[in-house]
């Protein structure tokens, strides 16, 4: 007698007119082959199956009753412009039902520069709030009781001055350190991997992490000293297995650093928290979160923790900003809802839902409300919270959880073999994997294999922007500079200098940097001054940029004839160009300003090279003048400037000016990234020849760039 499963196979084959169920298995981006149906046999004996919520290995969640007991914390990440403007925004949100704060800092602050530093003129207050001193910090939390409010701060590079100023501001509010509650991201390893908002080289940076952990374990028992982040790894293009593995490997590295500095595992491990990102692959993301908890528990056993909380993974989740589109942007509300659902069903402890206008500009009051309400509606209307881990025992989800556990473990083992994550990062392995994954994803989208509604399918004929855009005026910079000048005039200068000298000494010695910096912050030293005092000893880190090649076109080599044709046409055009003009079309891709998200330019660089361009890549954090110099010396045909952080209106025109001043006005400039359509005309008027918004297929932008170059050099 055939088993029920065998009968099902027969039935399915019949219903699909002879096609077997195996033949329609789908290969996920992670390389996992997904069958069309799962049943009991698939999960028999799997180690991650069978536990209960709140109990080791925590696959089903860290709390016994999960959301039935208390729902996750709605924690929206926000910040822009000045401390005063952000403070008003926070207070409104708290009144409207938000439970915790999450501060976004200006890129200038992240990189340890004061607002009066000419290198950061285009960045002040654009992608987050600019903080120069403790005075700004006090304004930021004015009227917000820091003994009650849990505050999360996304800060990695300038962690020492920012945390010192926050602690100092709280003290001046009358709140003691032991009362402070919240999280600082403080995850420097991933900065070297993806986000690039570091200041110092890895070694002193790891010491800073340890110093913060040591200080908090003594003085701030309610404070999470690190938020080990996979979000940025995902946003840089990593698939779920890579995100899961790299984040956990980062975590293990921090644990080792803390142990090495002499701490006891159970004093700090319970305060480690994680930060994952979830994209549109619904069940995969759920399984990833479950797998991460299982694996973390397993990985922590090597350190022999006594406290159960030491091996319990608690995480914040953010929905993917990358999955959102500029085209037909209201679709983003639906995407974010689906992603929020996977975060919730995956068992997150807190959640940020993105605003639908994320791909166009910074959130407005309106878009922030919709984003917040997405979570409130799931919590309060859907009844989803009534049962802990409702997907526990689902054949598919449990099987998928196991697959991710297996695949991620392999990568973690590989990293251990290299000697841990710090060494692995040095070797370039994780970065290459992420970039390869990103290039493949871009190729799948450009071919329509991964559908994005409104972008590569069901595209609207006429796009109309019918919502308001938040724009940060350049006056923010002047306001900040004025306040810095005022503080510098009124503070006790001798005391400030003494504090800064003490900090430089601490950097060279062994004293806890945070403790010394708190005194400097209270004496009104600025973020820039505190950062510089340490830089004297540590130096500033310069990234090495690597770029994969071949990954983009390899996705195309799969039979898909029509799109492979597009690639071939472009390759022929670049070859013809060489025959006609004596060299290949040459493009410089650059990312000016302090924004370190370089996924976009990496994908462009890698793909354009695959199409036969010669592609120059500029160092990170360039000024327009430096980018122009490089374009001229390398004698490129075109400069592609990427902007994601609202600096385009000053950076792109300045670049064009500097090219003209250098006598190379014929070098074309195109721009890409998050640029609101309402700014397009402004940029065209400034001389920009092409603008490619999020979701532009590489083949399309490359075609246009080639057209432009050919028109310029004469056919």
């Amino acid at each position: 007698m055939a088993s029920a499963y065998e009968q099902w196979v027969e039935l399915a084959t019949k219903q699909m007119k002879g096609k077997t169920p195996d033949s329609i298995a789908w290969k996920s981006p992670e390389g996992i082959s997904i069958k069309p149906m799962y049943h009991e046999d698939d999960i028999k004996g799997l180690p991650s199956v069978g536990s209960l919520p709140g109990m080791a290995p925590y696959t089903r969640g860290p709390m016994a009753t999960m959301y039935a007991g208390r729902p996750w914390t709605i924690r929206q990440y926000a910040g822009f412009s000045t401390a005063k403007a952000s403070n008003e925004f926070y207070r409104k949100n708290l009144a409207a039902g938000q439970k915790g704060l999450s501060v976004a800092f200006s890129l200038s602050t992240h990189r340890g520069y004061d607002s009066d530093n000419p290198r950061v003129a285009g960045d002040i207050g654009k992608a987050g709030v600019a903080i120069d001193s403790i005075e700004d910090m006090k304004i930021l939390f004015d009227g917000i009781p820091l003994d009650q409010m849990s505050v999360s701060m996304t800060m990695n590079g300038a962690v020492i001055p920012i945390l010192a100023m926050w602690i100092g501001a709280a003290e001046e509010q009358g709140v003691k350190q032991e009362q402070l509650n919240g999280t600082i991201q403080n995850d420097i390893l991933k900065e070297y991997l993806t986000r690039n908002t570091y200041i110092y080289p890895p070694e002193p940076s790891m010491r800073i992490v340890s110093d913060i952990m040591a200080h908090a374990s003594k003085n701030m028992p309610r404070y999470n000293t690190i938020s080990i982040s996979g979000y940025h790894i995902m946003e840089a293009g990593a698939d779920s297995v890579l995100q899961c593995a790299f984040t956990l490997a980062d975590g293990v590295e921090y644990v080792r650093a803390a142990l090495k500095s002499g701490m006891d595992i159970d004093t700090f491990a319970p305060r480690l928290s994680f930060f994952y990102g979830v994209g549109m692959n619904f069940f995969m993301e759920i399984a990833m979160l479950r797998a991460a908890r299982f694996l973390w528990h397993r990985l922590m056993q090597q350190f022999n923790p006594k406290h159960p909380q030491s091996s319990m993974l608690r995480t914040h989740v953010q929905t993917s900003g990358w999955s959102l589109t500029e085209q037909d942007p209201y679709n983003n509300i639906i995407r974010t809802t689906i992603e929020a659902m996977s975060a919730v069903l995956g068992g997150t402890q807190s959640l940020h839902t993105n605003s639908f206008d994320e791909a166009v500009c910074l959130p407005t009051e309106f878009s922030a409300r919709i984003a917040r309400n997405t979570q409130i509606i799931i919590q309060e209307e859907s009844q989803i919270c009534k049962v802990a881990d409702p997907l526990g025992g689902s054949y598919y989800v449990e099987w998928l959880t196991h697959q991710i556990v297996e695949e991620a473990q392999k990568i973690i083992d590989e990293i251990e073999e290299i000697g841990g994550m710090a060494k692995a990062i040095e070797s370039g392995m994780p970065k290459m994997r992420i970039e390869e994954s990103a290039a493949r994803r871009q190729a799948r989208i450009d071919q329509g294999k991964d559908v994005i509604v409104g972008v590569n399918k069901y595209r609207l004929k006429d796009e109309k922007m019918d919502f308001d855009i938040l724009e940060v005026p350049d006056s923010v910079r002047l306001e900040q500079i004025e306040r810095i000048n005022h503080i510098k005039k009124t503070r006790d200068e001798a005391k400030v200098q003494a504090c800064l000298e003490a900090l430089t000494k601490a950097a060279a010695g062994k004293e806890n940097l945070l403790e010394v910096a708190i005194e400097a912050a209270k004496a009104r030293a600025t973020v820039g001054e505190i950062s510089d005092a340490m830089e004297k000893v540590f130096g500033r880190f310069v990234a090495t940029t690597q770029c994969v090649s071949g990954a983009y076109s390899s996705e195309y080599s799969e039979v898909n004839s029509e799109s492979a044709q597009v690639i071939e046409t472009l390759r022929k055009r670049t070859a013809d160009f060489q025959a006609k003009h004596g060299r290949r079309p040459r493009i410089l891709v650059t990312k000016m300003g302090q924004d370190g998200h370089d996924r976009g330019i990496k994908v462009v660089a890698s793909s354009y090279a695959d199409l036969g361009f010669d592609v120059d890549i500029s160092p990170m954090f360039q000024t327009p003048e430096e980018a122009a110099k490089m374009a001229i010396e390398n004698d490129v045909h075109v400069v592609g400037a990427s902007s994601l952080a609202a600096g385009h209106k000053s950076l792109v025109p300045e670049l064009i000016d500097h090219l003209k001043k250098g006598g190379a006005g014929e070098i074309l400039v195109v721009a890409g990234g998050v640029i609101p359509p309402s700014d397009y005309q402004f940029l065209y008027d400034a001389g920009c020849k092409g603008i490619f918004g999020p979701g532009t297929p590489i083949t399309q932008s490359a075609t246009k760039v080639l057209d432009l170059i050919e028109a310029q050099v004469g056919k």
Binding site: V542, A543, C547, T574, A609, D614, N634
Partner: protein
């Protein structure tokens, strides 16, 4: 592209960045019309060349070449030198495109007014690399740069090609797990004027010292290319700026010896001579392949050889005799 050679010559002599950049583009061009102008330009610039220290650097990917050049070059500009860096990056054989990322690791040098960095795609053929870089080097010398650094990845034969156009060839290595020597080609040891073990910093110092000893032993087994110079093995940390001054001193004492013994002059003469012969060979090859008769007959003859209908010697004879009966082998 401008047609008048004096437009480029004047620009280079004025050390105008823009013009220097454009002249290099001209020199690198694969169009024969451009090459004709380039030949004029190079010829005119020739009297102003030859005074720079010409050094080549190679090393496996990951040896830290760019970081080394960043630190080394910055040290030189601080000493008052004008430094030109010519970096050769491999072109993809499939797409023909390339990724030129050298400057991302030369952040300081890239914005240093005393330095000029030009990454160039290898463009597929190795002869192509040599041709471009050699002449680009001359252009930079004419523009007043007194140190020229040619960087190449240690793949294929690019290192011997580069070694044949510089005065001092430096091989950059890193220490590994004790199997250093497997990663180095004998041919590279033969042309090296110094081996430098980079990344001698942090917990790597001892491994670097060990690697240094291993290379020293290996070098003893190779006949030095010069009777007057025994290539030293040194360590450095481009990250921590240690050992760089010593490398520069070594290059200078090498130069001193080479000048005093007359070897530098001989070497450059030989290089010029072999360069001429290379170009002659290349010209002959081009003549051969572009000959209409040969173009017509070649596919058929190739097929016959493949199928064993005629002997390779006979086929070669038939083909060459098309160019002239007296060319018979």
């Amino acid at each position: 592209m401008h047609k008048d050679p004096s437009y480029y010559i004047q620009g280079v002599m004025d050390n105008n960045r823009l013009m220097l950049a454009r002249t290099i583009t001209l020199v690198e061009s694969s169009l024969s019309s451009h090459q004709e102008i380039a030949r004029h330009v190079i010829n005119e610039l020739l009297p102003y060349t030859g005074k720079a220290v010409r050094m080549g650097i190679t090393g496996v990917p990951g040896a830290g070449k760019s970081t080394f050049i960043e630190s080394f070059g910055t040290m030189l500009t601080v000493l008052g030198h004008r430094v030109a860096v010519l970096a050769i990056d491999p072109s993809s054989t499939r797409s023909g495109g390339s990724i030129l990322g050298d400057k991302t690791r030369m952040e300081k040098l890239a914005v240093d007014d005393m330095a000029f960095i030009r990454p160039s795609p290898s463009g597929g053929s190795l002869g192509g690399v040599a041709k471009k870089t050699r002449e680009t080097m001359l252009v930079c010398e004419a523009a007043g740069f007194d140190v020229i650094i040619v960087e190449t990845v240690g793949v294929g034969q690019s290192e011997t090609t580069v070694a044949s156009m510089v005065d001092f060839f430096l091989v950059l290595q890193i220490s590994g797990a004790g199997d250093e020597l497997q990663g180095i080609k004998k041919g590279v040891l033969e042309v090296a004027d110094a081996i430098v073990v980079n990344k001698a910093d942090g917990d790597n110092v001892n491994r670097a010292k060990l690697a240094k000893r291993q290379y020293e032993t290996a070098l003893h087994l190779v006949t030095p290319s010069s009777p007057n110079w025994m290539p030293p093995v040194m360590t450095c940390s481009a990250l921590e700026n240690t050992g760089l001054k010593e490398i520069w001193d070594t290059i200078n004492s090498h130069k001193g010896i080479m000048v005093a013994t007359g070897e530098l002059e001989t070497k450059r003469q030989e290089q010029a001579m072999s360069w001429m012969w290379f170009l002659v060979n290349e010209g002959l090859e081009r003549w051969f392949y572009q000959h209409p008769e040969i173009k017509k007959l070649l596919p058929g003859i190739k097929q016959s050889v493949e199928q064993g209908h005629i002997a390779p010697t006979r086929a070669a004879e038939d083909l060459v005799s098309i160019l002239g009966k007296d060319l018979l082998i």
